[in-house]
Each structure stands twice: as structure tokens, then as C-alpha cells.
Amino acid sequence: MKDVLSIADKTFASRLFTGTGKFSSSQKMRDAVLASESQLVTVALKRVEVHNESDDILVHLKENHINLLPNTSGVRTAKEAVFAAQLAREALETNWIKLEVHPDPKFLLPDPIETLKAAKELVDLGFVVMPYIHADPVLCKRLEDVGVQCVMPLGAPIGSNKGIMTKDFLEIIIEQSNVPVIIDAGIGAPSHAAYAMELGADAVLVNTAIAVSQNPVAMGVAFKMAVEAGRMAYLAKLAPIKQHAVASSPLTSFLNE
């Protein structure tokens, strides 16, 4: 059976989602996205002129296999998020939305309360909601209850490139979740992405690490391979890590005597 990821009405052969920010040009962004073979690419509503058909970013993403995922980066409240999502839906003709509510413009950390509120409203309005959130297992279940189609917990502070710092919580989320778990934010190296996939994440979203690399195209390919390797390893079931050396059974060997 082919290993594909399904979210709402779409299926994805690639489990690497990418972003469009921080590249040195839209052409370089396009080249890297194509090289990564990513099929879902997030774009900040605030960066594009949605009503302008020749918008530089949008023009560079016109490919059949690329699905645009508008995000609400910059909004501070649920109300603003819902408004922005509706504008994106109307202008970009997609009902998919990456819900980012970060009232804090410094660390860009998500507001769990406003996110949950906005998620419920957006689901009711018929959106496919992909919420960017803390690695909070209870929040993930609450979001699932209101009908989001996946959850996107962060691996580390956004843009930090620190890797999977929230591992213990991600493991609980992955174990408990009935919707796909996409690890978003903090992934700074292909090894981090592979590790996330080995843990059982359904996909990862990577932006800074590709965009800010000296060679975004090569880095896009490296991430593609890492995500595939991690996924393959997960499916093949990793051998368990031995916590201690087990040379003999000093405590129970008497049973055999």
C-alpha cells in the first residue's frame, strides 16, 4: 500500500511542508520549493497582495502540484484571525488556513486561548484548519474536539533552528491524536526532521532552515530525503534503545539454576 498522508479532502505524497518567508528572492524560493517536492506551501497573507494576480510570491508558486496554505501570521486575536482567513479564502480560492495567532510579536508564540476560539469558528465556517500551537497534548485534544483537521505543535521556538526540544510532549500528542500531527517550527536541520518523523509525526513544516541556508535548493533536497528516511524508519519500526547494558541476569539467574 502506498504511504500517503490525507488531510481533509487532499492527499500528499510528500510529508515535507514548506514556507515562503526569508528567501533572498521569489525565484530562489520557487527553486527550493520545487527541489523539496513539497506539495503544501504556506504563505503569509500579510506578505502578498491577494488581489494582485502578478504578486511576486504567488506568481512563483503557480504549479499544479503545489497547494497554497495561507497563514494568518500577524493577527493577535481570534476575531482578527477569522477575518483574515475569510479574506484569504475569498482571494486565494482555498478553504485551507494555517491558523497562527501570536499576540506576542517578539517570540511569535501562539496564544492557545485565542487559537482554540478561532479554530472553532473557522471549522464552523467550513475551513480546513491547521493550527500552529504549543506542544500541549490537552490543547491538541481540545482542538480535535472542535473539528480541526490536523494539529501543528512546535518543536522549538519558531525560527530558532534548535530542533525537537519538546520531544516528551510531542510523543504524547502523537500517541493520542486522531488527526495528523505536523511538527512546525524549530526544525533547523534535516536530522531534526528525520528525528521528528521517526517519532511518528505525520509531516513536518520547514521554512527558516531552507530559506536561510547558503544553498536553499540543496537544503530543500536534503530535507526531502531526511523526511523520507525518517518516515521509512518509523514504518519499519526502530529497534528499541537499550537503556542499560544487559550482559547477564544477575537478579534472576537463580531461577534457572
Partner: protein
């Protein structure tokens, strides 16, 4: 409710100055070995002793800026609406005592200027006025914002300090950011440079960012005008102000500007010189202190300086600026606030930025976020 004045008053200018001028290179090495830079460390990084470490600071500043802001530089342009002013500021071309013709743009003139600016490609605009409450008070600003908001994604102002309720009114109209520079945090020096007008009230100006924070503004721009006093001490106070505001109004974004006194109508010229190397040191020190703060550079600076500064920590720049009302098309000969230094066209600046491997960002906000479409 708290305000910055309380924090400000726990510091003493002379004590700070002594401290900043008595660090050793050993102190600098210790600070540079740390991964998180505090306000105390910032003092060390702006001290004369840190100057020999400027390349190391620049390398780190450049890398941190790329990580956070990517390979991008944002562009904005100022639009002067008026040069009427009831203040005396010894260093400013608009100062009340300068006997020159005054001008305030009408609606029609504003739209003519807007049309020109839009054709240059800009989507983020900074509106500037002097301080003349009868002609360019809140009602004028409110009307101006309402008039132009359909043309720009992002509107900032640099005008006289206002009350909290007045800011709330303008935010309702679509205002995104307010730039308000303390000029100098040295109270006595401030008095000598602002002898008359509302601006002579040091404390009212000092607490302006607090009023903005309480009004829920999206972004506040801070800075000191370099040339009035020792730039190191003024910069420490600016950084202190920044850190206080970030903790108090955590939903607001901040930017820092670095105006150095430029030639202008009037007599006072810089008392304290800030060299190019000083300015680079300061920019890098800010970046090491704060990975996320926006650092902005105007056309006050020279071509060569601007070409080299964009990969050292700066995140937004202006280009082709006119510092007089109607300067773009309506009345190019009206009184300007100061002479700019880098006179290159917007397109030349864009090419300069792109040739260094950066993308020019024209739009990084959306009207819909203020519930305007």
C-alpha cells in the same frame, strides 16, 4: 499603572557614563562569550573598549539577523504632510524661529503625493508633521489616515506626542505604528534644546510610548538623536526603554532608529560626534541584545554606509526620501527638515539590496488585520 519615568528615575546619567567608560577588554571578552546578552552586557558592548571587537560583533549580528529576518530588507518611505511647528528645537529646520514659508498639504495634495509614492512601489508609508495643534492636530491626522489607508498596507506616523485616547482614535482609523524619539535622555540637555513649546515637557515625551502601549498600538519606534549628548549613555537609556516596554506592553512590536544630526536650517550643529564605526558598533550591540527588534536606517546616512550596513543587522530602510511637505511632486521647494545624504532612487536602492542577495519586501502587513479591506 506604571510608566517608564519611574524606571528612568532609578538611573543616574553620570554614574552610567562613568561605568560605560571604565570597562576593560576583559569585560568585553566575557560578554562576548555569553549566549544571552543582558542590558548590563549591552553597556559593555557599546563601551569604547568593545571597539576592537567590532568585526566579531558584526559577524554575530549579521548571523542573528539572517536567522530571524531571513534574506530580506523592508522598504518604507516618509511623506511629510506639514512643516508648521510651534516648538523651538535648536537642531531642527522646522523650528518655530526659522522664518520661512510654512506649508500643510491639502487632501488633494496628499493624494497627488500618494500617487507618486505608489508608483515608486511603496506599500508601507511614514507620515511626518511638525507640532502645530491647530493645523496638524488629531483631526487632521485622522482625516489623512482615512484618506490614504486604501492605498497602503501599513501606515506609521512621526508627529507630536499625543494622549492615549487620541492614539486610540488614530488606531481605529488604521494606524499601525508610531515613531517617537526622546532625542536625548539627558534632562538638562533636553531643556536647552527644547526651550519652548509643548515639546519642552521632557516627562510627557518620555511617557509617550507608555500611552501608545496602553492604546494597543502594533508597533512603537524608539531612538535618540545622536549629536546632542554622549551617544553611549543615550543608547543605554534607549535600550532600557525598549526592555521596559517589551515587558510591559508585550503585544507591541518595537523598532529602533539611529538618527545622526544632519545639516539643516538653523544654527546648532552636533555637540558630540558619532563616527561611522560608532554607529556600526551600536547597531551590532542592539542586535546582540535583541534578536527580534527591528533596526531601521534612513537616508540621513551616506551611500557607502548604507550599502555596507544592510547585512550587519539593519532590517528596514527608506529611500528617495523628501523631508519637506509636498517634496515629491506638489511643492518640491518647500522648507525641508534636514538634508538627506543618500539621494539614490528607489530603484537604485532596490538593485543595491538585491545585488547583495537580499529580497526587498514592500508588503509585510495587511489592511484586513485592522478589519479594513
Amino acid at each position: 499603572m506604571s510608566n517608564f519615568k519611574d524606571t528612568f528615575e532609578t538611573y543616574d546619567w553620570d554614574t552610567l557614563e562613568n561605568e560605560i567608560y571604565s570597562f576593560t577588554s576583559f569585560d568585553v571578552e566575557n560578554v562576548l562569550a555569553k549566549s544571552r546578552i543582558t542590558l548590563e552586557d549591552f553597556k559593555v558592548l557599546i563601551s569604547p573598549e568593545a571597539k576592537p571587537f567590532i568585526e566579531q560583533m558584526a559577524q554575530r549580528s549579521s548571523a542573528l539577523t539572517k536567522k530571524r529576518f531571513g534574506n530580506t530588507i523592508q522598504m518604507f518611505i516618509p511623506m511629510y504632510l506639514s512643516n508648521e511647528c510651534q516648538n523651538i528645537c535648536t537642531y531642527c529646520g522646522f523650528s518655530m524661529i526659522n522664518k520661512i514659508r510654512r506649508k500643510t498639504l491639502s487632501d488633494k495634495e496628499i493624494l497627488e503625493e500618494v500617487n507618486h509614492i505608489k508608483n515608486l512601489g511603496y506599500d508601507h508609508i511614514l507620515l511626518v508633521t511638525g507640532e502645530a495643534n491647530k493645523t496638524v492636530g488629531v483631526s487632521y491626522l485622522k482625516k489623512a489616515i482615512a484618506l490614504i489607508r486604501e492605498h497602503f498596507s501599513n501606515i506609521s506616523i512621526e508627529v507630536q506626542p499625543l494622549d492615549q485616547e487620541e492614539y486610540e482614535t488614530l488606531i481605529q482609523e488604521g494606524l499601525y505604528a508610531v515613531l517617537v524619539y526622546q532625542e536625548t535622555y539627558h534632562k538638562a540637555t533636553y531643556k536647552t534644546h527644547h526651550p519652548k513649546g509643548k515639546k519642552s515637557n521632557f516627562d510627557y515625551r518620555l511617557n509617550t510610548p507608555d500611552r501608545l502601549g496602553k492604546a494597543g498600538i502594533h508597533k512603537i519606534g524608539l531612538g535618540a538623536l545622536f549629536g546632542l549628548e554622549d551617544w553611549r549613555v543615550d543608547s543605554f537609556y534607549t535600550a532600557l526603554h525598549l526592555k521596559y516596554l517589551q515587558k510591559t506592553y508585550w503585544k507591541t512590536k518595537y523598532s529602533i532608529s539611529f538618527p545622526r544630526l544632519r545639516p539643516h536650517q538653523g544654527e546648532v550643529q552636533p555637540k558630540v560626534e558619532m563616527t561611522d564605526s560608532d554607529l556600526v558598533q551600536l547597531i551590532c550591540a542592539y542586535r546582540l541584545l535583541d534578536e527580534d527588534v527591528e533596526l531601521s536606517m534612513s537616508t540621513r546616512e551616506s551611500e557607502i554606509f548604507r550599502n555596507n550596513i544592510i547585512n550587519l543587522g539593519i532590517t528596514s530602510i527608506s529611500a528617495e526620501s523628501k523631508t519637506n511637505p509636498g517634496g515629491y511632486v506638489v511643492d518640491p521647494e518647500s522648507l525641508e527638515q534636514f538634508e538627506i545624504s543618500d539621494v539614490r532612487s528607489t530603484d537604485e536602492i532596490r538593485k543595491m539590496i538585491e545585488s547583495q542577495g537580499y529580497e526587498v519586501v514592500w508588503k509585510d502587513w495587511d489592511k484586513s488585520y485592522s478589519n479594513f479591506v
